[in-house]
């Protein structure tokens, strides 16, 4: 005997348990973000005055620290040599890349951050390498061949169709219509939805399938008219939603 109340409580407990790791991760991320923000805010006033680093980089990419006199606050004032930037501007990057690649790729030895230069390097646009289509292998890891049998795993749709002919069961008609719609056979989906509607014109899903199949078959106007008629009769929210989607072009 089922104890539904107890089962619902257990389900709620299970759901909470299953979502717990996500909550924990979310809380950790939020707290770390907040923590880092607070840390940055508290760090700012303690920070020493900003150092003006001056790098004197010779043209051959040998970075050398120029001894500079210390100011009153014992901070190093470095003056950047902008010669190398000018050299980039003077020569096109494509040509320069082959001659002095080290200047671009090598990182400066100094740990001080370089002052941000307003100039930007004109790099050639990145083009992704062409994707070479690879042949799909049908062999398994052990080398054995796996054969896909596409005609398998299908319901005996012919059997269902003949049963539908015999019984004229609306639910079976709907099942077949849905089967065809799912398999992209919109002609048959349309036919069976129509037959189902003739048997029972109060099945919401059947009308929806009927209209959807019409849209898929390129008969959008007919689908709209059908839905409008059906909405006036049934006041169906689902039908209204579908009609809106078709009119907005969301459903094609």
């Amino acid at each position: 005997m089922l104890d539904i109340k107890k089962l619902e409580r257990r389900w709620l407990k299970y759901k909470l348990k299953s979502y717990a790791p996500y909550f924990i991760v979310l809380i950790v991320i939020i707290t770390s973000l907040i923590g880092s923000l607070i840390w940055l805010n508290t760090k700012k006033p303690i920070q020493p005055p900003i150092m003006t680093n001056k790098l004197n980089i010779p043209p051959k990419n040998t970075t050398q620290k120029t001894p500079m006199p210390l100011n009153d606050q014992n901070t190093t004032v470095l003056e950047p040599s902008m010669e190398f930037v000018q050299s980039f501007q003077n020569t096109p990057i494509q040509e320069d890349a082959s001659k002095s690649p080290a200047v671009l790729s090598k990182k400066p030895v100094h740990t001080q951050s370089l002052p941000s230069t307003p100039k930007t390097l004109n790099m050639p646009e990145y083009t992704s390498p062409p994707i070479i289509p690879t042949a799909v292998k049908s062999t398994n890891r052990d080398g054995s061949l796996s054969i896909n049998r596409n005609n398998e795993n299908k319901l005996d749709i012919n059997d269902l169709q003949s049963r539908f002919k015999e019984t004229s069961n609306a639910n079976l008609g709907l099942f077949i219509a849905r089967y065809y719609y799912d398999h992209g056979n919109y002609d048959e989906a349309y036919n069976y939805a129509l037959k189902t509607n003739n048997i029972n014109n109060r099945i919401d899903e059947s009308w929806i399938l009927f209209a959807k199949s019409l849209v898929k078959l390129g008969r959008t106007d007919q689908a709209k008219k059908t839905l409008q008629l059906y909405i006036t009769q049934s006041n169906s929210e689902t039908a209204r939603g579908l009609l809106d989607a078709i009119e907005r072009g969301n459903f094609k």
């Binding site: 089922l2 619902e8 389900w11 407990k13 299970y14 795993n153 319901l155 639910n171 079976l172 099942f175």
Partner: protein, 269 residues
């Protein structure tokens, strides 16, 4: 409660092995055809193995149901662990001979050679992993003497690979492994079962999302699927009687699938 829309589907998923309830799924059907053709070959032993709930017993029962129309077939569903009892049951059911004295292997082989049967009788042994090695050795000797052809089913476990056992490795001439069902196969299984019993409206309620969830929970195990669906339809029966407004007739509620899984022990909550 009995007139409920869901009471009939619930009864369909009672975990009973009945060859009439056999649902033809292409992969299983393929296995069954190869099993049937193996039985026709002059093999001594045929092994049918796989994880629990892959449909071994159902296939064996189906084979028994189909073959018994044409030839002498004995189905041993529950293992007979006592050697004397085992040989006695075989002698009585196959050769129609019930000796009063203790049945030894030699005596059994004498009886079988004395009777000239047109075709070798077939014995189907379910749950053969429960037989002792000594009895398995006697089964091997009987099959070697071509007195009886055996079709046996075994559980495949992670701990021991039964096929590797010596007495199977050398004597099995054909082995067929059954696999767990995929989500697609499970969907076909459930829908065919429902459609077979004209439960069209309930079959319409199962969508791909539902079946994916069921396949994840049961790991493609047919027995667990039956148990889960039995519980699910029991839940639906309860809600139909006590709180019908909660039922949506266009789709199965994932929440209720999970609740059924909790009830059957597939989810530990």
């Amino acid at each position: 409660m009995e007139n409920s829309l869901f009471s009939k589907p619930r009864e369909l998923f009672l975990d009973i092995v009945n060859p009439r309830d056999y649902v033809q799924i292409d992969s299983v059907s393929h296995m069954y055809q190869s099993l049937k053709s193996s039985v026709q070959k002059p093999l001594k032993m045929i092994l049918l193995y796989g994880r629990p709930g892959t449909g071994k017993s159902m296939l064996l029962h189906k084979l028994h149901h189909d073959l018994s129309k044409h030839q002498k077939v004995l189905m041993v569903s529950t293992p007979i662990v006592d050697e004397d009892d085992f040989l006695r049951v075989l002698a009585q059911n196959i050769f129609g001979h019930a000796p009063r004295e203790v049945m030894t292997l030699n005596r059994f082989l004498e009886i079988s050679s004395a009777l000239s049967l047109s075709s070798i009788p077939i014995v189907l042994l379910d749950e053969a992993q429960l037989y002792s090695p000594a009895l398995m050795e006697k089964i091997r000797l009987i099959s070697d003497a071509r007195a009886i052809k055996f079709v046996i089913t075994l559980h495949k476990t992670d701990q021991e690979d039964i096929i590797a056992k010596e007495h199977f490795q050398t004597r099995i001439w054909e082995s067929i492994e059954l696999q767990n069902a995929t989500a697609e196969e499970l969907k076909i299984y459930v829908q065919k079962k429902l459609l077979k019993s004209n439960c069209f409206d309930v079959a319409n309620m199962f969508n791909d999302k539902n079946m994916k969830l069921i396949a994840t929970l049961t790991k493609g195990n047919y027995r667990d699927t039956n148990k889960l669906l039995f519980s699910l339809f029991s839940l639906y029966c309860w809600y139909e009687e006590n709180n019908p407004t909660l039922i949506k007739y266009n789709a199965i509620k994932p929440k209720w699938i999970e609740m059924a899984a909790i009830h059957t022990g597939l989810i530990h909550a």
